[in-house]
């Protein structure tokens, strides 16, 4: 399993609010029975027009923007619970999504695929967008151990929250199922108690 400790990367800015999972991966691409290959259709209908030609104005089609960090407007990942959205982001090459606010189910799905959702303040978020506007080479550093995100263009940094259990999972590449499987006795004891 992948481990996450620190990451410094340029960013892909998407200053749109309420990006729902139907935009991240439209329903017609959910018909696969494996987890691979969803990155090709990440943001499909914003990225390609109806003739399947790249939309030049969309950020993923602009070679000036690349990196492992997607920075998006508030309430990212709302709507459908499709984990395909997290698979698509991971498959495309994103390890971190930064926003001021995430939808609950998406947040769990992202973490279960080792894509780290980092919640920042509105002010810090707009600071990132401004820095990237000025300089596309702007980098962010995410230090998971210290739970701190730094905008290297301005030197501004902010702490971010993650529960200790999930932090350990990311640092060590553990997944929830391994943990739950180790708890079978407790589950059976619970079942006997009801």
């Amino acid at each position: 399993m992948k481990k996450f400790v620190t990451l410094t990367s340029t960013v892909v800015p998407l200053p749109i609010e309420n990006v729902d999972t139907d935009q991240i991966i439209p329903a017609r691409f959910l018909k696969a029975t494996s987890k691979e290959g969803f990155g090709d259709n990440l943001f499909r209908d914003w990225r390609y027009d109806k003739h399947n030609q790249p939309v030049a104005s969309f950020v993923l089609n602009n070679p000036a923007y690349k990196g492992e960090i997607l920075v998006a407007g508030k309430n990212f990942g709302s709507g459908s619970s499709r984990e395909h959205a997290a698979w698509a982001l991971a498959d495309y090459g994103f390890s971190v999504v930064v926003s001021s606010f995430f939808a609950d189910i998406f947040k769990n799905n992202a973490m279960n695929n080792f894509v780290l959702p980092v919640v920042v303040s509105e002010a810090f978020l707009s600071g990132i967008f401004e820095s990237v506007n000025r300089d596309r080479q702007t980098t962010l550093t995410i230090d998971l151990k210290a739970q701190r995100i730094t905008n290297n263009a301005t030197g501004q940094s902010e702490p971010f929250a993650i529960n200790a259990y999930k932090k350990e999972c990311f640092l060590n590449g553990f997944d929830d199922i391994d943990y739950l499987l180790s708890k079978k006795d407790t589950i059976e004891a619970y079942e006997r108690s009801i």
Binding site: P15, I16, E17, N18, D20, D22, Q23, P26, A27, R28, L30, K31, A32, T33, S34, K35, D45, K50, G73, K74, N75, S78, G79, S80, S81, R82, E83, A86, F101, F102, A103, D104, I105, N108, N109, N112, N113, E122, S126, N163, A164, Y165, K166, D175, D176, I177, Y179, L180, L181, K183, K184, T186, I187, Y190, E191, I194
Partner: protein, 472 residues
Amino acid sequence: MSKTLFDKIWDAHIVTEVQDGPTQLYIDRMYCHEVTSPQAFEGLRKRGLKVFRPQQITCMPDHNIPTENQESPIEDPVSKNQVDTLDTNAREFGLQYFPVGDARNGIIHVVGPETGLSLPGMTLVCGDSHTSTHGALGAVAFGIGTSEVEMVLATQCVFQSRPKTMRITVQNQLQPGVTAKDLALYIIANMTTGGATGYFVEYAGEAVENLSMEGRLTLCNLSIEMGARGGMIAPDAVTFEYLKGRSFAPQGEEWEKAIARWKTLQSDADARFDKEIVFDASHIEPMLTYGTNPGMGMGINDSIPTLDDIDPASRISYEKSLEYMSFKPGERLIGKPVDYVFLGSCTNGRIEDFRAFAQRVKGKRKADSVVAWLVPGSWEVDRQIRAEGLDKVLEAAGFTIRQPGCSACLAMNDDKIPAGKYAVSTSNRNFEGRQGPGARTILAGPLVAAAAAVTGCIIDPRGIACVSGSTI
């Protein structure tokens, strides 16, 4: 200590709480459909595991299935493969299974309650955000991702952080011609699309208590559209009456015991919620949406907010949304022509929705300019439609009834709204491309949909004249 309804059910299902981490929550029942389960079953195989509690899992395909000629094999090979994969998984792992064409098949969130598989006091999950629907019975029900589906298959547990609690009290009564869907769209418009994120909602108050079970299912179904983890309503006489005699509901002596237990499932009088919101039902008009998230809703006679009404930070997203819909700030939608009408989905595919639609179109004709798709939420709903003679009313008005499934709600089958066309949909999401690439969705209740279907335009179903001159 006094507890909310949510706390009572959640606390009774805690297996352990990981220190400074999530709750390990025991799940009473999981539903699986074909879209979000294949990778979970595959994960189980890779780990060499069996399903831990197969008797607590129910599978049925609903998203991909056609709404015509279900007797024949599915034509789209990719859809067919996904449905076949669920078939293989359900049989191989020995799970309860309602395949395509089975008398019990339909949309999971319609079938669960109507078969009595979903019951008060339960924890229920499905790899589907509209699992919140089942909360209407007084259950803790929420959508999960595929990794979490795998966790439940393997251990009957999920890891979840404990949500905060919110009570939404709706005082007074809804006016005639205003439905549960209108109530839900009104609440979401006020709360915004992310306004309940992090919370589990209990709906209460006179307007909620007065809803039928179908109406309550509609209301709880849409909880996710304001970001809530789930929505629930305390079980009462309406709930018990609805469940009595359903196939998988307790019977005889067990039924009496269950009722006694379910009657305790109420928030204590002095229970504290993290947030309390109050609305007045008497002000609510028939609703519709004008934008590309369900929070962008308004009364049918209102005008779309102008840019001055929008927070400057949100204007880019707002303008993008209206551009997609080809609407202008400040515009009214009354009289706008409609190309498609969709009655159905886990939101409004129940018998009460078909009754409302049929009652409104009775003795009238479907507008020639409108393509109408009427899709029952399940075969049970289809049987009720025919038993009540609604099929005759609908057919006389020029409508046909399709076969059950999720259909045009998310257009994973052939029921796609063409690019640029306007659809008045009783479904749950108006996201860009949700009903087909480029499709423009106006969410509304079954009465607004019926009025649009017979006039060909957006019109107040309470009988106000359309600008084209026709009235209903």
